[in-house]
């Protein structure tokens, strides 16, 4: 088993590099540049702009920027005699901002050494910015999984048991209707209906009440979690219920179940012991992708409900072309995804010993 895990981890490494290259080169195609955005202000002088551009390294060729991001630039421009000014440089110019003086030595160490640079907008470590918001996103995702999976599975099982009857038809239709409406419309509708304008039952946004002292523990602020979770679960409920129904129906017609029925076993036992349990195996493979899609799908929900998660940070960073934060989000998102896939692979192998290769 350990060998299996290690092998999968090793296989994940080229994937990781593929992701970084892909993302970086997409950003390289960007026609705008962050310096203009940051400095749209009549009183900034040309020299200041050049200094900023040199400091951010946006004028270097794209592969240099990628290298700098990956492994840093303290080996690209360095100081040999201790005077604070760089004396030697390879790959990048000694005087990048063309002010007649050599620039300070490179300070970046690259993400492989833990340095994710500094956000162009917030001038802060992107990992810190993401770390501040990641718990909220994870909280929402876990709540959604806890709601959508049991609910979805139950609906699917019941729809399979009462196949062809009205419950089956109406449950399938309802599940799908919830998933057909664009997410932001659904979210906005939920706020307007359950919030202050109409029913005034639930808060209109945020993770907790705006009081000092931070948010109370989760069991004291569940009402803030309700609407975002509902909005985010609808897709999952639709998906899981249809999957479970199909999986159940698959096993119903299989030989061993028929045999069990012929032997006269109680219907209910047959269903749950054999059908449902065997449906769990392929379910394990869906957990990974489910988590991934939640990470991405939460973006809109987080924005509308002012849920302090990573999604809104990403949207803002994309608009502002804040490369360090975008790249950090992609890397973190991908790492989580790879971990999610790994977990689902492991679960699959646990449930089905044949898979351990």
């Amino acid at each position: 088993m350990n060998k299996f895990i290690i092998r999968r981890l090793i296989q994940a490494i080229p994937t990781f590099f593929g992701i970084t290259i892909l993302s970086y080169f997409i950003i390289a195609a960007a026609p705008g540049d962050p310096v203009s955005i940051l400095t749209f202000n009549p009183k900034m002088s040309m020299e200041e702009r050049q200094q900023l551009a040199a400091r951010l390294g946006v004028n270097d060729p794209i592969y240099i920027q990628y290298l700098r991001w990956l492994v840093g630039d303290d080996w690209m421009r360095w100081d040999t005699n201790g005077d604070g000014l760089a004396d030697r440089a390879i790959l990048i110019p000694l005087d990048a901002d063309s002010d007649g003086e050599p620039d300070p030595p490179g300070e970046r160490r690259g993400i492989l050494r833990g340095d994710f640079g500094r956000s162009f907008v917030y001038r802060d470590n992107p990992l810190k910015l993401i770390g501040e918001r990641l718990p909220a996103t994870i909280e929402l995702n876990i709540a959604t999984l806890l709601v959508s999976i049991p609910l979805g599975l139950t609906i699917g099982i019941l729809a399979a048991i009462w196949r062809g009857r009205s419950f089956d038809q109406s449950a399938r239709i309802l599940a799908v209707v919830g998933d057909s409406v664009p997410s932001f419309l659904m979210a906005f509708g939920l706020i307007m209906i359950f919030g202050a304008p109409t029913l005034n039952l639930l808060p209109m946004g945020g993770q907790c009440a705006p009081v000092r002292g931070g948010c109370p523990p989760i069991y004291q602020r569940l009402e803030y979690l309700v609407l975002p979770t509902i909005a985010l679960s609808l897709g999952g409920i639709a998906g899981w219920s249809r999957f479970m129904r199909a999986a159940m129906l698959d096993t119903i017609t299989s030989d061993y179940v028929r045999t069990a029925k012929a032997k006269g076993l109680n219907d209910r036992i047959v269903w749950f012991r054999h059908s449902a349990r065997n449906a769990l195996i392929p379910m394990a493979t869906f957990l990974g992708p489910t988590f991934v899609s939640l990470l991405g799908g939460a973006t809109i929900i987080e924005t509308i409900f002012s849920w302090p998660g990573v999604g809104r940070l990403l949207t803002q960073s994309v608009t502002a072309q804040d490369y360090p934060v975008i790249m950090a989000s992609v890397v973190i998102g991908s790492v989580l995804t790879i971990v999610g896939f790994l977990i689902s692979d492991i679960l699959y192998a646990v449930f089905d010993p044949r898979i351990r290769l």
Partner: protein, 598 residues
């Protein structure tokens, strides 16, 4: 017995009366320190990037740092003029010497940071040194960074000194009426704290831009920051410049909201205390009986929308001046280089329809770059919406409708570009690109309306809403656009000096704000003259600025559209709110929220 009950009833009546009357007095006074409730305001943008006044660069950060330190000059919220001894201002008095180049500022001696340390000139000089060092990124203080070096884009301040702890002496390179304001661009910081934390290693400030300040001066203090959720400050009772003698609200909160629609809904629900009402909802607040209880204040802000026309060739953007400061002649734009065409455009668009239909009537039509309440506003200038006149101007400019088919654009027959630059241009169609930034509904709508209006008089307009950061801004500042629509929002009071917008020195592709490459010799002279009018005599300056507006009107590098009518609304139970056009939050220390909901 009867007598006794009579006295009893009378006594009860008096008591009853008293309970009615006394709170009425108390309402104007306040309920006591920290009893005024929690004031909540919405933030539709990003989180603040920093709590360090020296690093503040975005509006969310400025909103926070305004509570943390005094400014050297503050404006009187009633008059809009910089005056001494205003709450929150450090200057007690100031005077120029007889040459007009040396400004001596006397600081108040009674102010102290909330740890007891007095506020002195050293707190200002620390900032000056920090910004001059070039180690920190602060874009607003170019007045200092580029020392007066004879270049047109240089700053005006030669030196800043403090002969004693309560006097600051600023020396300018010339007697400039406008440079006064730039003295205020430098923030005041608790230098005793900053010395300890950073010393002269100013760059290290940027390692932790969101470190919470421990020492401040203002009605609120002690920032608590929950990322993507809220920023909260509590009352600082040591603040001396209060209206009531104490700080009334308990807490001031900035709440993150996704956009102004949700913000408005939450305001109506009572969750937000003060709101800048979006233009699409202003009419609701005026007429809807359900919203009648909210207190409203309407004023003409300093936000205006305008339509830029690139007068120079977009295929070859050139700076206005070369390195020696000599003028570089600009190749005219093939279509918009002709002032007749620009004037035709200003007469082709029905601005009333735009204001009525798109802005719901919440806009004031203007024909200049200043607002109607500015002291230099020129009321004699008006655009005239006249489609026939616009067509006639195009004919005169050499753009002719040669096939009488309204679906095809006009063509050049002896137009300016063909005459003066490239004869082979003859016969080209009247085609232009119009760009607006994506994301503002109103900008897209106006763009579409402009396109339809221009196509009416014979243009063929290619209209696109494009992403602000990656597409619109590069085209605008890079000067590769034809026509662009944008809006601006500056604070009041209005600065009549527009050197930063219309002179060749700031015609720098990629950086400067003279996007349209506009150059007019007379305008340059007027603007330069107005800065050095002896004694800064307002009448003389006003004459010059009136003429400047006339020039811009006639030459039409911009079609000035309208100025926004702003409306601020607060909850019905908010007392002691005295908004002025210059500030709606200048007296927050006196605010009282009665009977807080929930």
């Amino acid at each position: 017995m009867k007598n006794f009950s009579k006295w009893l009833v009378l006594g009860l009546c008096l008591v009853l009366l008293g309970t009615l009357v006394i709170p009425a007095f108390a309402q104007d006074e306040g309920l006591g320190a920290g009893e005024g409730g929690i004031i909540i305001t919405g933030n539709t943008g990003d989180d603040p990037a920093t709590f360090n006044p020296l690093l503040a660069n975005d509006s969310a950060s400025f909103d926070i740092v305004q509570w943390l330190a005094p400014a050297i000059f503050t404006i009187n919220p009633q008059t809009g003029e910089s005056e001494p001894n205003i709450a929150g201002g450090l200057a007690e008095s100031w005077s120029y010497d007889e040459t007009g180049t040396v400004l001596t500022i006397n600081l108040r001696q009674d102010l102290a940071w909330n740890d007891g340390t007095p506020i002195t000139a050293a707190d200002y000089l620390y900032s000056v040194d920090a910004i001059r060092s070039g180690q920190i990124e602060n874009s607003y203080a170019s007045a200092f960074e580029t020392m007066a070096d004879g270049t047109p884009a240089g700053g005006k301040i030669v030196s800043v000194e403090a002969p004693d702890p309560y006097t600051v002496v600023v020396t300018f390179s010339e007697a400039d009426c406008v440079a006064f304001e730039s003295v205020n661009d430098i923030a005041i910081v608790p230098s005793h704290v900053y010395q300890e934390l950073y010393g002269t290693d100013y760059a290290s400030m940027m390692d932790d831009p969101r470190s919470i300040p421990t020492v401040s001066f203002g009605p609120f203090k002690d920032i608590e920051f929950a990322p993507a959720q809220r920023v909260s400050l509590i009352a600082d009772q040591s603040y001396p410049d209060t209206v009531l003698g104490y700080v009334s609200p308990e807490e001031w909160v900035y709440l993150s909201v996704p956009d102004e629609n949700v913000e408005t809904e939450r305001f109506i629900a009572g969750e937000i205390s003060i709101l800048a009402v979006p233009s699409t909802r202003q009419n609701d607040f005026r007429t809807d009986p359900a919203l009648a209880d909210f207190q409203k204040y309407e004023f003409t802000g300093n936000g205006f929308t305008f339509f830029a026309m690139n007068t120079a060739d977009p295929n070859n953007p050139q700076p206005g001046l070369d390195e020696q400061g000599n003028l570089i002649p600009q190749t005219p734009h093939p279509v918009l280089g002709d002032v007749l065409v620009r004037r035709a455009i200003t007469q082709a668009v029905d601005m009333d329809a735009i204001i009525e239909g798109i802005r719901d009537g919440n806009g004031l039509k203007v024909a200049t770059h200043t607002i109607p309440t500015s002291w230099v506003y020129n009321p004699d200038l008006q655009y005239k919406f006249d489609v026939e006149a616009a067509k006639a101007l195009l004919d005169e400019a050499g753009w002719v409708d040669d096939d009488n088919d309204p679906a095809t654009p006009r063509v050049c027959q002896n137009c300016l570009y063909a005459r003066e630059v490239d004869p082979s241009f003859e016969g080209s169609p009247l085609e232009l690109r119009l760009r607006v930034p994506e994301g503002g509904e109103i900008a897209s709508q106006m763009g579409e309306f402009f396109k339809a209006s221009l196509d009416e008089i014979g243009f063929s307009t290619d209209f696109q809403a494009i992403d602000w950061g990656s597409a619109f801004l590069p085209e605008l500042t890079g000067q590769t656009f034809d026509m662009a629509l944008l809006s601006w929002s500056l604070g009041l009071p209005v600065d009549p000096d527009v050197t930063d917008f219309y002179t060749p020195a700031v015609d720098v592709p990629g950086a400067g704000f003279n996007f349209t490459s506009f150059y007019n010799e007379e305008l340059n002279q007027i603007l330069a003259e107005a800065r050095v009018v002896p004694g800064c005599d307002p009448e003389a300056r006003k004459e010059l600025y009136l003429r400047a507006q006339e020039i811009l009107f006639n030459e039409a590098p911009y079609y000035y559209m309208y100025v926004s009518q702003s409306m601020t609304a607060v909850q019905p139970n908010l007392q002691n709110w005295n908004p002025t056009p210059y500030s709606r939050i200048w007296d927050t220390d006196a605010w009282v929220l009665l009977d807080q909901p929930q």
